[in-house]
Amino acid sequence: MSVPAFAVEGLGHRFGRRRVLNGVSFSINPGEFTVLLGLNGAGKTTLFSLATRLYAQGEGEIRIFGMDIRERALECLRLMGVVFQQPTLDLDLTLEQNLYYHCALHGLSRREAAGRIAAEVERVGLAERRRERVRLLSGGQRRRVEIARALLHRPRLLLLDEPTVGLDIASRQFLLDHVRHLCREEGLAALWATHLIDEAGDGARVIILHKGEVRADGGAAQLLGETRTPSLRAAFESLVREPVAA
C-alpha cells in the first residue's frame, strides 16, 4: 500500500478555552480528490493552518507522505501547494509577476520559472492576460491564477480552502474540473474544503467536519446508505443535526 499523501491522526486544537478541532483523523492517498465538507466555523481553516504551519500544532499528528510536519516542516511544505481562503495575490503586480514571485520563494531559476508559468497559465486559460495587473482580472480568473500558482513548484498534495467562495457557477465548475483532472491524470492528492454541498458530488470522497469533529468519511453513496437519506444534502443535514435532549 502506498504512503498516504496527507494523514492526520488525533488532531486537536484550541483557541484559548475554545476547542475548535477534536480528535480529527483521516488520510488521503495520492491521486485522490477529497472534499472536506463543513459549515462555516467547522474547523476547516484551522486544520489548513495547522497543516501549513501557520499555527503551531499541539495535539495529534500531521504527516505529509509519511513525514511528520513538526520534524520535517520544510520538506513537507515543498510537497504542498496551497490555495488559501483569502485572496493572496498582489493586485498591483501583473499575473506573471505574482507567479515569478512564488517561483522565487520555491527556489526555481528564472528559466525554469518561465517555462512552468507559461504552461500553467495556458492550462487555466489565461495565457493572453499574463501581463495584465491582477486587479483587472475577475474573481474567478484570480482564483484560477491562485491554483496555477499553487502548482508551479510541482507539489504532490494540493490543499484548497474554500477556493470557490464568491464565484459564479461556471467559474466554480471550471476549478472543480481542473483539480479533479489533475488528480486523475497526474496523481495529485487534493483536499478541497467547502461548505457547498454540490461540490461534493460526482463520486468524490467526502469528509464531513462539524464543530471540530469528523462526523462521516466516505463516498457519497456510502453516506446515503449510512444515513438512509435520499440526497447528500439530507445526509449532511442529518449528520450535523444536534441531538435533541430528551
Binding site: Y55, D92, Q97, H102
Partner: protein, 267 residues
C-alpha cells in the same frame, strides 16, 4: 534547499518589493518630499536660531541645512522601515503574508529577506535625496557618497528590523497611527537629527541620556560621519546590536508556536 535557492528567494522578494514601490508612486514622492520640506523650510527658518559650533566630523562652521541633512536621510530610512512594517500588517490582513510563510525556507530567512528588500528601496531613496539636496549646497566630499553606503545599509537594517518587530505586534492596520505617535516622532525628536546633543545636554541632562540611548541617534551619527569618510565605531556597534536584537524578537514574534502569532490566533 541549496544555497542558490536562498539567493533566488532573496532576489524574488527584493524584486517584489521594488515593483510594489514603483507601483506606489505616491510613496516615492512623499518619501522624498517629507525630508525636502524639512530641508527647504525648516532648515532655512532655523538657520539663524540654532548656532552650530564646530563639532566632529565637521572641521569648520557649517550652515544648519548641512547639519540636519544626515538626520533627514535617517528619517527617510525610518519612514521606509515603518512603511514596510505597515505593508507587512497589510500583507497579513490581505493574506499575502501566508504565501511567504508557507514557502519552504526557514522563517528567520524569509523575514531577513523581507528586511533586505526594504533596505534596498530605502537606500535608493536616500541617494535620490542626496542628489536633490545638492540644490541646497549639501555637498559632502565625493568619497562620502561611497562611504555612506554601508552606513545607510546598517541604519536601514536596524530601522527595518524595528519595523518588522512592530509589525509582529501590531494587530490591525489602524494601529499604525499609534506607531507614528509613539515610535516615529519620539525617536526622531529625541535624537541628534535636528540639534547637536551638547545643546540638549545644556537644557536637560535626562533628555540627553535618552537621546544617547536612542538607536536612531546612532543611525544619524553613523550616516553623518560616513558622509565625511569617517567611521563612528560606537554608533556602528549600537546599530549592529540593535539590529540583531530587533530581528531576533521579530522572528520570535512571527513564530507560530511561541510569539504573538500564536497569541493572536488564540484571541
Amino acid at each position: 534547499m541549496r544555497p542558490i535557492h536562498y539567493l533566488r528567494c532573496l532576489v524574488g522578494v527584493s524584486i517584489r518589493e521594488w515593483l510594489r514601490f514603483l507601483n506606489q508612486r505616491g510613496r516615492f514622492f512623499s518619501a522624498l518630499v517629507r525630508p525636502l520640506v524639512w530641508l527647504a523650510i525648516f532648515a532655512t527658518g532655523f538657520q539663524f536660531v540654532l548656532g552650530v559650533s564646530i563639532i566632529p566630523p565637521y572641521d569648520t562652521y557649517i550652515p544648519y541645512s548641512i547639519y540636519i541633512a544626515p538626520g533627514l536621510i535617517a528619517m527617510i530610512l525610518m519612514f521606509n522601515g515603518m512603511l514596510s512594517s505597515l505593508s507587512m500588517v497589510y500583507d497579513r490582513e490581505m493574506g499575502s503574508m501566508r504565501v511567504l510563510m508557507v514557502s519552504p525556507l526557514p522563517r528567520w530567512f524569509l523575514l531577513t529577506a523581507k528586511l533586505f528588500a526594504g533596505v534596498i528601496v530605502s537606500v535608493l531613496q536616500a541617494y535620490a535625496f542626496l542628489a536633490i539636496a545638492l540644490i541646497w549646497d549639501i555637498e559632502p566630499p565625493w568619497y562620502g557618497y561611497i562611504a555612506v553606503l554601508p552606513a545607510l545599509v546598517l541604519a536601514g537594517l536596524m530601522l527595518g528590523a524595528l519595523g518588522l518587530l512592530l509589525s509582529s505586534a501590531i494587530r490591525q492596520l489602524e494601529n499604525f497611527a499609534s506607531v507614528m505617535n509613539f515610535v516615529i516622532f519620539p525617536m526622531f525628536f529625541a535624537s541628534s537629527a535636528l540639534y547637536p546633543l551638547w545643546h540638549v545636554k545644556e537644557s536637560s541632562l535626562v533628555l540627553y541620556h535618552i537621546c544617547e540611548l536612542n538607536p536612531f541617534t546612532h543611525a544619524v551619527e553613523l550616516v553623518r560621519f560616513a558622509l565625511y569618510g569617517q567611521l563612528e565605531p560606537v554608533s556602528a556597534a549600537v546599530l549592529v546590536i540593535s539590529t540583531v536584537v530587533f530581528l531576533a524578537l521579530a522572528v520570535y514574534g512571527y513564530d507560530p508556536a511561541k510569539g504573538l502569532m500564536a497569541r493572536r490566533a488564540a484571541e
